[in-house]
Amino acid sequence: MNSLSVEHMLGIKYLIKDDINLIFKTADNFKKIINQPIKKVPSLRDVTIANLFFENSTRTKLSFELAEKRLSADVINFSSASSSVKKGETLLDTVNNILAMKVDIVVMRHPNPGASVFLSRNIKAKIINAGDGTHEHPTQALLDSYSIREKYGIVEGKKIVIIGDILHSRVALSNIYCLKKLGADVGVCGPSTLMPKYLDSLGVKHFSNLNSALNWCDVANVLRIQLERQDVQLFPSLREYSNVYGINKNVLDNLNKNITIMHPGPINRGVELTSDVADSEHSIILDQVENGVAIRMAVLYLLSLKK
């Protein structure tokens, strides 16, 4: 297999296992390149990319922008806070106006689930979903699985537990799809009010007790509590959440094995993770960030080759 089976990167749901492995193999090459003294290749010098961020982002936006620049693409940036969206322009109008400026690839983050799928059906450009509401965040899931592959050599058969707000997390959903496609065992852990109703149909284990989840897993992917997406209060207080589901050094020391800690960022230190865990040798959080650039370079490169 030497080409992706999809035209757009809308979600992990639409990928097949071979796509994911091709992205990983290509990312291996880019990881070498971003560790060279000259961290740039001319592969996308004839490609223009628009980064459209209708929702706040630091890491993903910087990571995409860096990946694009490392590939020598021309980049334009847009964030809705300072744009005509505030004047009432529709998404389609905004994007069509940007495409009139001859853009080949659109990287979009949007608060509405399905926004990137909608866009892919209505405009002529390749779309990369950089997070659409509570739906999917494919490149984050790819870089998470890639980091597990880097740490253990293989993803298949590994036990990964995702801890926290599964209901509102696009990272959780994309991770579940990605890990399952690669043959991993996936569990989720968190208060039942933060678990989606369709959990059974995803084929994942559910733990309500943090200790039993951590004793089961090889890797714990810890998520942030997304207070901005909760319309009603789903647990009594952050302090109580932290007491029951927060991971600190004591919790890890009481396990009879070493597990790897991941976090997609941004970390709320003291809530889901304490600093001594986030900064410990078990944490691969900063490796995830580095791998993010390589994975996004691979996705951009492979999509740009599609006719």
Partner: protein
Amino acid sequence: MKNERQILSSSQLEITIKRLCQQLIESHSDFSETVLISLQPRGKHLLNNILAILSKEFNCKNISSGDLDISFYRDDLRTKQLPVIPEKMNMDVSTENKKVVLIDDVLFTGRSVRAAMDALMPFGRPKLIELLVLVDRRLSRHIPIQPNYVGKVVDVIDSERVIVNWGMNNVLIIKDNNE
């Protein structure tokens, strides 16, 4: 139907590679200032053969070498029919102030070599860059690139392909006959 003709047999190929090794020794003596770099994927087989002969027959051991992947530097990435998927890059060498010999099996348009020179730059500023090829298709160049060491020069037309078959250890010219 395919038309095949052999231009180098197994024994001729061995003699040719041995001669190339001797020419390398003439210019690079003990190879202490030299790095041999293959163009992935096909140059790697030639490099491995050269390293084996240099070590076995001429006692030149511990020569610095690397394998360069040029995929991301190609100028035909989005015009090619099939997507270019990168090969393994193995460049744990510095080329800073070294004499670099680029090694590939067939020199055709010269575009791969141009891409290779671009791809080489992140690893240091070489003192000089030379080019060694097993087969030079001398009438097919698109850009002004000439090899320093040549195994065999051939004159073939564009519809013919030159294949170095490392499994059988021979070199063939293949003409796809569609009539």
